[in-house]
């Protein structure tokens, strides 16, 4: 087993990226590839990811799979790296033409799906797509979160003029901060009907705030990504829906494609792994169930 294909994710401390790594690990085992699992410790740490990419290249692997943290910033380093190693991109794009193949989910699209889900949930509750909504972002300056926010705001503006975004707030990466922000927003805005919490940690914090105040039937929350905590909230109605991507497949197919590239085979240039809205209604469908219960161990 002397083929090495490292995978570089954005943030090894997040559950989402752990699923990506689990997929990559499984692929490594299935295909007989050595898969170092690398990544920065925060999605905001651009410089850290560049350093890790540099180090990975120094190890002379057969190929590298990377989820670029930031579109522009990773462009040059990837160009540079691609001079000696084939690069496969996953999850997010980068300002580089050097990718041999690209497996992405469209985060802007994810934001749109969230807006649709939120509008539907509000309509189900009140009969019309109207009312005050807020969008919460876990951390400023993180590319994918910005794209989700962008998609959400755009969709609300163009498709749901009845929904009014009354607050657009950023947290500091902590679930507790999300929880505190949410309780304060509830206090200050009695007419609130909907919330978009654009990542997992926020989903946990906001879900907790809703559960704490038993407001599941008054305020509809759409969160992004899933784990058993947020799936639990989905079940008990504290969250109205989850937008889930297919991180496992991204990791698995990323390694598979990289191996193919390193052997000189031709591979599709672009693959969209998709994003889906999970609600209480569809959560038991086998396809969705596989998404919210990934085989990570």
């Amino acid at each position: 087993q002397d083929v090495t294909i490292p995978i570089i994710v954005k943030d090894t401390t997040s559950f989402y990226w752990q699923i990506v790594l689990a997929g990559a690990r499984a692929a490594g085992k299935d295909l007989g590839v050595n898969v170092p699992e690398l990544g920065a410790q925060s999605e905001a740490d651009i410089n850290g990811q560049i350093s890790i990419l540099e180090n990975a290249v120094a190890g002379k692997p057969a190929a590298i799979v990377i989820a670029p943290t930031e579109f522009k910033a990773l462009g040059k380093p990837i160009d540079e790296a691609a001079k000696s190693v084939p690069i496969i991109g996953i999850d997010s794009a980068a300002d580089s033409k050097a990718f041999k193949s690209f497996l992405t989910t469209d985060n802007v699209q994810g934001g749109r799906i969230a807006a649709d889900g939120l509008a539907a949930a509000i309509k189900e509750m009140t009969g019309k797509e109207e009312g005050d909504v807020v969008i919460l972002t876990n951390l400023p300056g993180v590319g994918s979160l910005e794209q989700r926010r962008e998609g959400f705001l755009d969709q609300v503006k163009t498709k749901y003029p009845g929904l009014k975004v009354i607050a657009d707030k950023y947290g500091d990466g902590q679930a507790t901060t999300g929880l505190n922000m949410m309780t304060d927003l509830i206090t200050a805005n009695p007419n609130l009907v909907g919330v978009f919490a654009s990542n997992l940690i926020l989903g946990q914090g906001v879900g907790q705030a809703i559960a704490e105040n038993n407001l599941g039937n008054k305020i509809k929350v759409i969160a992004f990504d899933s784990d058993d905590k947020t799936v639990g909230f989905l079940k008990d109605g504290s969250l109205a829906g989850l937008v889930v991507q297919d991180p496992y497949r991204m990791g698995y197919d990323g390694i598979k494609t990289a191996l193919a590239v390193s052997k000189g085979e031709t591979v599709p240039e672009n693959v969209d792994t998709g994003a889906n809205l999970v609600t209480k209604a569809n959560m038991n469908e086998p396809k969705i169930d596989a998404l919210i219960n990934p085989k990570i161990k």
Binding site: Q18, Y170, Q174, D184, D228
Partner: protein
């Protein structure tokens, strides 16, 4: 620090603002509250006061523990990491079917162990407190992540997760926890001889030693108290957000130290109290709560927080200096 030749003259023009200057820290906090009560309708609602008390509670407890350490002229950077780590350990033990009380006790004991390790590093190995607690900060996050494999462990025990949102006599249980920590902490720091020893060690450890104070034991004690408070906050956090996650409470060490320093603790040791850090923590919580109620843009919120910290500590410094 600065000396002007016109001390006497400089006092005069300030006359008009005298009332502001003579306000104690708690006065400044009340001023914030009154101001917020005027500009927002929802500030003085019982629900919001409950929220506020809940939001400041965890930092307050951390800050009290941190204060013990700072009084000895040390610093404990690991408290945030201990909080996250303890939430993981507790969730893990509960997941493994360990009874709740045993799990909590075990988590607190782990806090004691971590504090002991800090004491050991400082006293026996001669490491600077900054370094040993920075090292634990780094390592504990790693161990926590290893246990959870980078994700979170859900806590299914309803009794436990209900606790953090419960009220008792109309006051949030989390705030009761602050009282439960603050009262013995007050007795310990201000009324017992061990408290005096903390101050003495922070002021002049050689003089303390020659006066028969067991300096090493005092240092151990300070770090154990700080780490145990942090472990306790980890338990509360686990109850509040219902998960164990190693990356939670990131940066809370700075919040705790800031609360303590805003509350009048000196980073050079030998100056501090129990009520100071409590007020400091609730000042910070109030700023955030107020900004949320006023729906201040998150970015402006940061800017304002920074400015308010300067203003509040400046007034407090002025009062301290003039009362001398």
């Amino acid at each position: 620090m600065t000396i002007t030749s016109t001390d006497a003259a400089a006092v005069a023009p300030r006359r008009g603002m005298n009332i502001l200057f003579s306000l104690t820290l708690i006065g400044l906090l009340l001023l914030l509250w009154i101001g917020l009560g005027i500009v927002t309708a929802s500030f003085w609602t019982p629900l919001n006061i409950s929220n506020l008390l809940r939001q400041g509670a965890m930092t307050a407890i951390l800050a009290v523990g941190q204060t013990f350490v700072i009084i000895t002229a040390g610093i404990d950077l690991s408290v945030g990491a201990i909080v996250g780590f303890s939430s993981v350990i507790l969730a893990w033990l509960l997941q493994a079917g360990v009874p709740l009380w045993i799990a909590i006790a075990a988590t607190l004991l782990l806090g004691v162990a971590i504090g002991t390790f800090h004491g050991f590093g400082i006293v026996r190995m001669g490491l600077p407190p900054f370094i040993i607690t920075l090292a634990t900060l780094t390592s504990l996050r790693g161990i926590g992540l290893l246990i959870t494999n980078g994700s979170t462990i859900s806590i299914t025990n309803e009794t436990f997760t209900n606790f953090a949102r419960a009220d008792f006599l109309g006051i949030p249980s989390l705030f009761w926890m602050v009282i439960m920590i603050a009262l013995p902490a007050y007795v310990f720091l201000h009324l017992s001889r061990w408290g005096r020893y903390l101050f003495a060690v922070g002021s002049n450890s050689e003089a303390a030693r020659l006066s028969g104070v067991n300096v090493n034991r005092t240092i151990y004690m300070a770090y154990i108290l700080s780490a145990t408070c942090a472990a306790f906050v980890g338990v509360l956090l686990a109850s509040r957000i219902g998960i164990g996650n190693a990356t939670q409470a990131e940066g809370w060490e700075l919040q705790a130290i800031a609360s303590s320093v805003i509350g009048g603790t000196s980073l050079f040791g030998a100056v501090g109290s129990v009520h100071g850090p409590l007020i400091g923590a609730f000042i910070l919580a109030t700023i955030n709560n107020g900004a949320n109620l006023l729906n201040v843009n998150s970015f402006w919120q940061r800017i304002i927080t920074g400015l308010l910290i300067i203003v509040i500590v400046y007034f407090d410094q002025l009062r301290r200096r003039s009362s001398r």
